[in-house]
């Protein structure tokens, strides 16, 4: 083996993640200024946890993800030394085989990968699996890059200390919703939902409570939206073209009997080939779906500006997680900056049910729904199921 590297394949991380491979590549460039650097970035293939390619929604999402990946790669190129010889590659990398194929195709003699966050058996398994597979099956050196500072995000499965009491503790979710209109920026998910719902037809029933961003987006369409509750299903609901079972709505449906009743109701009230979108959560999917969120758990906060200029920051933490019964207790903290002097803190605690992928697929199938696609999102473990009513 020669002492120098000629072609170095460098993995670009998703937006917001630490670009440790890029940083390490920049150090390598100082030692190997003549080397060709190939920066590869995979469109968000991992956002699509599973699904059936071919549907319009799927293709549209694919296209959007590719464009976003290309833009992201160009931005990162600008952060690398201008003098370096860099080529950008946007390739769908779904597993280590694709990675090896890419490396061989480009005659790379070094592969620089971003280290995934460590924290437990599962992350080690994922990390080990990817890089180790490359070592076993390829003859290419692999550099697993970790960011300097070695700050590791906290694994949310470890219970934090007792929640702090805040002066406004005891606020109900309804209070918070009315106090804080659109604080979320979930345009991506919302646009996917809308695309599917609009195609299905004008009548959409939505399991409450609706997220404010979603409610606002729905209000701007021609859809006739009917909200309903899982514990008081409206028997006289007219036939619907689609049902949207929102994240917080589904989290409240905790018993199997309620889940079955809900799906039976949706099946009965859906028109022929109507669609059902269900937004669910599974904590085990935190790593495959999106590692970005881990760092957000540690110290990240969402921040938005309300129309009146008030700044609201929000953070979420898991207080308790019961894997056997599949529910968790989540604490949402809101900080409202009224002015420079006064910061109001509000706290909301809620219990939510979580689901496994096959558990819900089984429920859908047994209620005559055909699963068309499952999406993940930038939230950890979030799964969005798109199912169509069967013809039988």
């Amino acid at each position: 083996m020669s002492s120098g590297f000629q072609t170095i394949l460098v993995e670009l991380a998703a937006p917001l993640q630490e670009q440790s491979a890029l940083e390490k590549a920049s150090e390598l460039w100082r030692s190997f200024p003549e080397a060709d650097f190939l920066f590869f970035h995979s469109p968000k293939g991992k956002e699509v946890v599973a699904g059936l390619p071919g549907t319009d929604a799927f293709q549209s999402l694919e296209q959007r993800n590719r464009e976003e990946a290309e833009r992201h790669a160009r931005e990162l190129r600008d952060r690398f030394p201008k003098e370096a010889k860099v080529q950008l590659l946007v390739e769908k990398i779904l597993d280590p085989r694709d990675l090896l194929e890419l490396a061989q195709e480009r005659n790379a003699d070094l592969l620089v990968l971003n280290a995934l966050p460590r924290g437990g058996f599962f992350s080690r398994w994922v990390q080990g699996d990817r890089a180790a597979w490359m070592l076993r099956h390829g003859e290419i050196p692999v550099l697993v890059a970790r960011a300097d500072g070695r700050k590791e995000p906290t694994f949310a499965g470890v219970l934090p200390e007792e929640p702090t009491e805040f002066k406004a503790a005891g606020q109900t979710p309804a209070d918070l919703d009315s106090a804080f209109p659109p604080y979320r920026s979930r345009e991506h998910e919302v646009s996917v939902f809308l695309e599917v719902l609009e195609k299905a037809g004008p009548h959409t029933a939505v399991l409450e409570p609706m997220g404010s961003a979603l409610a606002e987006a729905l209000a701007s369409t021609d859809l006739k939206v009917t909200p309903f509750c899982h514990d008081s299903l409206p028997a006289d609901l007219e036939p619907q073209n689609s049902f949207l079972l929102t994240f917080s709505g589904m989290a409240a449906v905790r018993q199997l009997e309620d889940q079955q009743a809900l799906l039976k109701f949706c099946g009965e009230k859906l028109s022929r080939e109507g669609v059902l979108i269900a937004d669910l959560f599974n904590p085990w999917l935190r790593f495959p779906v999106d590692t970005v969120v881990l760092s957000r758990d540690a110290d990240g906060e969402e921040q938005v500006e309300l129309p009146d200029g008030t700044q609201v920051r929000r953070n979420i933490r898991v207080l308790k997680r019961d894997y056997l019964n599949q529910f968790q207790t989540v604490e949402k903290l809101y900080w409202v900056d009224h002015d420079e002097e006064e910061v109001e803190t509000r706290r909301e605690v809620l219990e939510s049910r979580f689901y496994s992928r096959f558990e819900f697929q089984h429920l859908l199938t047994s209620h005559n729904f055909h699963l068309e696609a499952i999406w993940g999102s930038r939230y950890p473990g979030e799964m969005v199921f798109l199912a169509r009513k069967g013809t039988r």
Binding site: Q127, G128, L143, V144
Partner: protein, 139 residues
């Protein structure tokens, strides 16, 4: 890079790591750390006298000193040596915050040996908090 560690086992194939490391530490203030452990997963399961370990440690130290001489003859870089009797991960763990890169050549274990002893390089990649470069073993 400021501080790069190369893991050596006394064999020629592992010395490739030093060759790869040299261009990386060719800067003022950079430092190369040569590490060799006398730990052996098989020997650790059978009773071996203290004299055996002392001999191994002497040999390891001698080997690293020779290697240091060879490296410094080629390149005026600061070289440090470390002999440890612990497994690699345990040896490196206390140093991880000070290392920019750890370089090693994979053991090339396969089949039963991999099943029985696992892969050292995989353990390091998963367990260390610093960057790790694994070079494939040459046949």
């Amino acid at each position: 890079m400021q501080r790069v560690a190369v893991l050596l086992d006394g064999g020629e194939s592992a010395e490739v790591g030093v060759t790869v490391a040299l261009p990386l530490v060719n800067f003022a203030g950079s430092e190369l750390l040569l590490i060799r452990t006398t730990y052996d997963s098989l020997e650790s399961t059978v009773p071996v006298g203290a004299q055996h370990w002392r001999r191994k440690e002497r040999q390891a130290r001698h080997y690293l000193e020779q290697m240091r001489g060879r490296v410094q003859a080629v390149q005026g870089v600061v070289v440090e040596c470390l002999v440890s009797s612990d497994p690699l991960l345990e040896t490196l763990k206390p140093l991880e915050d000070d290392l920019d890169l750890v370089i090693l050549v994979s053991s090339g274990r396969s089949g039963f040996a991999r099943w029985a002893y696992g892969s050292e390089s995989e353990r390091l990649m998963a367990g260390l908090g610093c960057s790790v470069l694994v070079l494939p073993a040459e046949d």
